[in-house]
Amino acid sequence: MRRRALRDEPLIFERNPGRGPRGGYLLPESGIAPVAPEEALPADQLREALPEMPALGELEVVQHFHRLSQMNFAVDEGLYPLGSCTMKYNPRICEVTSRLPGFVDLHPLQPEWQVQGALRLMWEMERALAQITGMPAVTLQPAAGAHGELTGMLMIRAALEARGDAREVVLVPDSAHGTNPASATFAGYRSVEIASGPDGTVDLAELDRLMDERVAAIMLTVPNTLGVFEHRIVEIAELVHSRGGFIYMDGANLNAFAGRALPGAMGADALHINLHKTFSTPHGGGGPGAGPVAVSEALVPHLPVPRVVREGDGFRMLWEDGRSIGPMRGFYANFLILVRALTFIRGMGDEGLREMSEVAVLYANLVRQRLAGAYHLEYDAPTMHEVVFDDSLQQEHGVSNVDIAKRLLDLGFHPPTMSFPLIVHGALMIEPTESPAPEEVEAFCEAMLRIAREAETDPEVLKAAPRETPVGRVDEVQAARNLVLRWRAEEAWPAGVPTRS
């Protein structure tokens, strides 16, 4: 699949370098007499030269970004099985609802009586997430998953301090997301790693040894980053609770069991939900995210403010609550992301959400069955929503996970996540999600099997990949060791760094 990049695409700052008079708009006369800047501004705030903004016509700008977008791979283009990231399709209906003028044109300082619909939506979203998690209350404030982790850990700290129990350690499994130890550290705890047992889940004997009165909480991802369900989660929770600790559950993988099992029943005290994973809101793209946190009864008093509360038929914001950890951000939440996620939840319905998790697990197991034998599976436990192979069979032919990933680009698929989780050397972490049609999953498996054959018969094809993309294999080592950032075309390229050619 050759992308349309038959010529080199310059930086937008490199176009029209003389900044000749081009533009995409004409402002009408304002009807107000112009004021000289020096009359209106203090001398030290006057600039001597105009800022070096690009001066381009509308068509040039459209073409520039359109061409760049065509050089990229997107969920709208083909299977994007980036494990752990959960690259689902973003349904268009969610873009429609989140652009309704009644939502888009709100101002955060409007009085509550004017925004009852928005408050109700937030309240209903909290209720929906409480129902899906089986937990009594939810905060919608956190702006991302890791922000949710910090929010949860601060609530756990508040609950411990409220009972006069200062603890210092948080246990984190070696298969955890890297954000877990970072969040524990930010919340003032020291993170201690706990090793996985042979089946890839938490070693109970090791937990029993480490779990003492210094441990505030254990942070667990369920299912974990190997796509393996912590099947002793109830025992783990009982052990931790019996010694005064809390269970922080990383809900990044909630999409594997939403509608089928309740984290509340597993003993979770705090659980963040990545709306972009389980509930299909857009990933990044410069836009905001959301990482709501569901909590157990023990943490309810410490939820952040402001919170939406219901009073009769109306809704209002609760701004003060004595034992709250306080606000976790300005204003209320990334509201339009909540609109998208609630649209997804209501659009799917109860049955649809159950089917969503089932199909995600089914597809991961389909990939596992089709690729077994061709790729090595380090952990043999039952697969949930993602499956982790490694490149050890291909390494015998000098082929690494990087070569496999690059070759997939030639064959029209985004590569899986590589070299994560860290406990699997040369990992290839595949997560199809529930979005694709079965034929697309099958086509991906065919491509992976073809690559496995090529590794044996023609490894050079893999080493040279990608050849069908506008940019071939980039020198990642050089790029990382010798970072050159620039935006002025005329700045000299440092000696020894290859130029684009």
Binding site: G178, S419, L422, H425, V477, A480, R481
Partner: protein, 128 residues
């Protein structure tokens, strides 16, 4: 040469060379191979107290960011300044020019360290 005879090793793939009361620490040939090409090394500060098993610094490769751990307890008395400009020394010469940290040893739990033969068996089991 991949596992020199005269060093001690940890389960987290650091090596230790003890001369008098100073321990020189690096990561093994096996570890640098698993990590891939190192592009950035974050080292502790000289004077810092470290406890055996605690995080000593991080190694960043194009694949991943990994911590390395103190194989002994003591005070950091030297760091390899060359790695700021030449992080690839960790790959090129893991047991020599790619050393990471020197620690003045206050204590060491010998049971957490392995000799060359034991370490070789350990990585053979880990990599099948």
């Amino acid at each position: 040469m991949a596992v020199p005879e005269d060093l001690s090793y940890t389960r987290s793939h650091e090596w230790v060379r003890r001369e008098g009361d100073v321990a020189m620490v690096g990561i093994t040939h096996y570890a640098q191979e698993q990590l891939g090409e190192v592009v950035y090394v974050e080292l502790p500060e000289v004077g810092q107290q470290v406890e055996q098993g605690s995080e000593l610094g991080t190694l960043e490769s194009v694949k991943a960011v990994s911590e390395f751990y103190a194989p002994v307890t003591g005070e950091v008395v030297g760091i390899n300044e060359d790695l700021a400009d030449e992080p690839d020394l960790v790959n090129q010469d893991p047991y020599g020019g790619g050393w990471l940290v020197k620690i003045r040893v206050d204590g060491v739990d010998e049971s957490a360290l392995m000799d060359a033969a034991a370490y070789e068996a350990f990585i053979a089991a880990e990599s099948h």
